[in-house]
Symmetry: C2
Subunit: 320 residues, 2 copies
């Protein structure tokens, strides 16, 4: 161990799992653990889980820890360290998670929205290392985002900036759960995507996919579509290519507005890999204004599975 290397604890607070790890300043995960979130138990239960988890991971640790970073869903006030109305956490209105953890462990604690933490993670450890400005997009159940401008997280008026998922690509398009229409999330968010593909498959059955799901379309997942596409299935390839076109259209709006050319894409659905990235890039290049055409690039996230823990720990290295 190099004497000068610094360490931090990263906490990735999710509705399904709470992941906690010790991460070095170089982005190496030394230890990690995962707990099933007892979100239904309300904030007290969850806070207790976080405390227990941090104690557990610190027991036996001999590294000097610089601080604790927490990536949480919902609107986060980084100054106060509060987390407000995180989706999938019932009974949780506003909790001062930062103060609670700081007091408990007598160490600096930094709280940030999880999508923003992911962007900071990519800037500190990942694909964003060498870019001054970029927009991070996370493709999963939802479509999240974080904006880095001149090596700083852009948070907006109340810290809610970066909602790339709720950029509309068709103002008369499908209803989105945010209340608007045609948001990119309403096209490529996991559930929307699967439900659209299912209804297409009911109209025109596809033997390759039906085989992969044992004739039960309820088993359809993005991974199944990916497998079928890799096997050469034309329908599945078209699904991925259309997704790319749609994502590229949303990113072109972002690029034209912000004059930022670099995008980093992570999250489950980005597992569609090269064909998806190819399609996003093609659509983006075709749609941005001339002065951006040679500057746009779409990069895959580097942090992958440990993005949550690394992003949260990066808050410590970013802010201290």
């Amino acid at each position: 161990m190099a004497k000068s290397e610094k360490y931090a604890v990263g906490v990735d607070l999710g509705g399904t799992n709470i992941k906690i790890g010790i991460v070095s300043q170089k982005g190496r995960v030394l230890e990690k653990l995962s707990l099933n979130s007892k979100a239904e138990g309300g904030p007290e239960k969850v806070v207790k889980q976080i405390k227990t988890g941090i104690k557990e991971i610190l027991s036996g640790n001999k590294k000097k820890i610089r601080g604790i970073g927490i990536g949480a869903p919902g609107v986060v006030s980084t100054k106060k360290g509060t987390v407000e109305n995180p989706p999938n956490f019932p009974g949780w209105t506003k909790v001062n998670l930062g103060n609670i953890i700081k007091k408990e462990f007598d160490i600096n604690c930094y709280v940030e929205n999880d999508a923003n933490a992911a962007a900071i993670g990519e800037m500190i450890f990942g694909s964003g290392k060498k870019y001054n400005s970029f927009v991070m997009i996370t493709l999963g159940t939802g479509v999240g985002g974080g904006i880095i401008l001149n090596r700083k997280l852009y948070r907006g008026e109340i810290g809610a900036a970066g909602e790339v998922g709720h950029i509309t690509i068709n103002y008369n398009g499908p209803r989105c759960n945010c209340g608007s229409y045609g948001c990119i999330e309403a096209y490529v968010g996991n559930n929307y995507l699967i439900s659209k593909v299912k209804s297409d498959l009911i109209v025109s059955p596809n033997q390759k996919i039906l085989k992969l799901v044992n004739n039960d379309l309820n088993l359809l997942t993005p991974l199944i579509i990916q497998k079928a596409a890799e096997d050469g299935d034309t329908f599945s390839k078209a699904v991925i290519s259309e997704m790319g076109e749609q994502i590229g259209a949303a990113l072109a709006s972002v690029s034209n507005l912000l004059d930022v050319g670099t995008f980093i894409i992570g999250g489950g659905v980005s597992g569609f890999g090269k064909p998806l990235f190819f399609a996003i890039n093609k659509s983006l290049v075709a749609r941005v204004i001339a002065s951006l055409r040679n500057r746009v690039k779409v990069l895959p996230s580097k942090l992958k599975n440990e993005a949550g823990i690394k992003g949260a720990s990066a808050l410590v290295f970013y802010k201290s």
Copy 2:
């Protein structure tokens, strides 16, 4: 005249007219003149016109001038003072307008993109005075924009930020002259709007409008639509209301991305007045994410006809 009041020269470089004025720090226009742009004569001719115009307006002036501000179309490097490829200025690749004017008059000269200058003008003199952050939109032949974040102009990577007009609201929508599809400009930019309304009127003739244009649809302008709407014409009202819905959809994307709630709208078409603002606001409120719903507001520009000169002169007060 108060001893402490400061003055600046503002130059609004347009493809049709070059407008020049002396403006006080409070936004009062002391003197102004307008020249027909001789854009077809190339940059040398235009630069000569600017010089002559400034000399003219300064002759007899006894106020101490703090500097000269120039709002120009195209991509502007504020550091270097260069103006690159301004649309409607043939033969103009890159001209260091800032240096030329600075040398000629031995005074500070600030050059900025015209849409950005308009945003700075609203911040210093107009509807943006009391807002930390807002997005300015100019509705005219094109749809331009400027982004103010924490009382500073946000310029992006090369100064091309704020292209609100090229946010798509329908990725399969009408072709835009930027090369993309369904940009808000391709719906509400003057020419697109008029051509769409014309073709609707050919299919379903409208007596009120036909009367206003003496049966010649080539005379159709936004002003005619406005007049017909004010006379209670249902079709014209619907045109304005649809425009508002479309603009609101684009602004919702901006708001969700930037977490900025305040919009200021200027330019010719914003003359549609209250019905348009009502429709934009309704669409915007319905479409933004929950955390923005109570914060969004759409304000008319205060600078109106003198927006160009005032915005350009505001560059001096903003930067010096």
